[in-house]
Symmetry: C2
Subunit: 329 residues, 2 copies
Amino acid sequence: MNILIIGAAGMVGRKLTAALVASGTLSGKPIEAISLVDVIEPDVPEANGINITTRAVDIADPSVARTLIDNRPDMIFHLAAIVSGEAELDFDKGYAINLDGTRYLFEAIRHAGMEKPYCPRFVFTSSIAVFGAPFPDKIGDEFFQTPRTSYGTQKAIGELLLADYSRRGFLDGVGIRLPTVCIRPGKPNKAASGFFSSILREPLVGQEAVLPVPEDSRHWHASPRAAVGFLIHAAQMDTAGLGTRRSLNMPGLSATVGEQIDALRRVAGEEAVALIKREPDPMVAGMVEGWAKDFDASRAVSLGFKAETSFDEIIAIHIEDELGGEVPK
Amino acid sequence: MNILIIGAAGMVGRKLTAALVASGTLSGKPIEAISLVDVIEPDVPEANGINITTRAVDIADPSVARTLIDNRPDMIFHLAAIVSGEAELDFDKGYAINLDGTRYLFEAIRHAGMEKPYCPRFVFTSSIAVFGAPFPDKIGDEFFQTPRTSYGTQKAIGELLLADYSRRGFLDGVGIRLPTVCIRPGKPNKAASGFFSSILREPLVGQEAVLPVPEDSRHWHASPRAAVGFLIHAAQMDTAGLGTRRSLNMPGLSATVGEQIDALRRVAGEEAVALIKREPDPMVAGMVEGWAKDFDASRAVSLGFKAETSFDEIIAIHIEDELGGEVPK
């Protein structure tokens, strides 16, 4: 099993790499090689006997995709993207990476298959940003796609191409629309959604965090561990059940900020909760209010994808995976 | 008013040109110039005092779009496309014309707007092929897009780009999903849907036609005159009512082949109906069975788009527009 991970330097890419290396197998076959690719050179993890190579490339360069496919990886994880805010600010860059970069990969695979038969599994990380308000209470896989950002437009186009290239037999695609990943490890960042993680992550280690929205704000979450689980399941699943509809809402947990805080209280007590400073920010609150709050992921669940069902579980995973198994005293 | 029509040599393009020339105005303004563009040089119609120019170009050539936008047309009709069957047979050509050609136009408009403000109305002919089976009984604008052809994929991507470029203020887009145009004038063609027109068109002039499907086969139709009406209404309508959802199912008539034949009988009698030869073709019947049969176009209707409500009307329009007003004896 020869694996290519594009966007390997990001948080999910690093956790995916670690999980694959730790397992040593995928789809019941030993992993021989993993190629880690990103716009910055990815770190080389412990190899566990696997031939791990790294490359820093720009997938918007039309000559790059071919070189990534040269050794005909059996499995391709495409996680690379210009994120929503940046794609909105820099129109050219968003389209260059998120649309052209993705299409160059698909085309390189198709052309490789013209020389001799080739049809790799291609796991594409899409986004719930393919959907645009106004929303139903629960957004199903069959809700139509009217993205309200250029990022969402680019992801929706990626899904359409993934489906067409799969239908044609050029690749075997699975598109997964990830929930917001929570608790995101690391430092606070400037993303508007960052507080969903920081109001748990910071208090768990005795630090203050800012809550800019009301406690009844509802959002859609899954842990980093669940996100890696989705990717690995998408790589291993039987795609016959997908038919021509190749992209799926991943399961997640719809929870209010108040429910997040209640879970924090159960795990770390009132003194942790007291570290959350309420500083209402109408701009952030307005953005969050416009985001989707709940999804129907029954199709993905029936196809074997699994996520957390409570914030207690999400916090416990963070403590296990990031804090060595216990809340610091 | 300076108008650009891309795909002007086709049947709908020629009828649109004739209607614009006959009217002499659009959106209440006199038409000064019409530029007719297609892959073959379009015919020059009677000019009626309008400056009509023609050009044969390949819109898949990246250098072409800029030259089409040079004189900053106020109104752009983009009708050019590689049709479904050909886009399925020639993957590269379909993507080159239907996706890249369309995107080059959008990009040329955006870049023109960077030099000095420019935001033309852009009428994009999409297709009901953006939808893929399994279908509900009536397909609404909010049905999700899972095209089952490369053509449908390319049109769905065009719709997404049209919406994003409109949201950004680069152009003022309206996407219209046309029903099957019936009665299509001219000679029988090899399109699988051709019989819907030929079973009426040929008997009306005393010639035989072949019916390859059962009489209970249902399909979605609008006359060529209605199609031109949709384009002109899309050009003139107030787009404020579209919001970010820029593409619309056009109204049409859902009718069975039996209903078509009943209308023919009322207009031209039993001897015309007797010219329809039943030659069941399981392949054609299977294709037609997989196509959408009925649509909910209430959004378009509420925005002022109009179509025929009976096949008697569709046949009467064909007799008026193509047969000089009467059925030949």
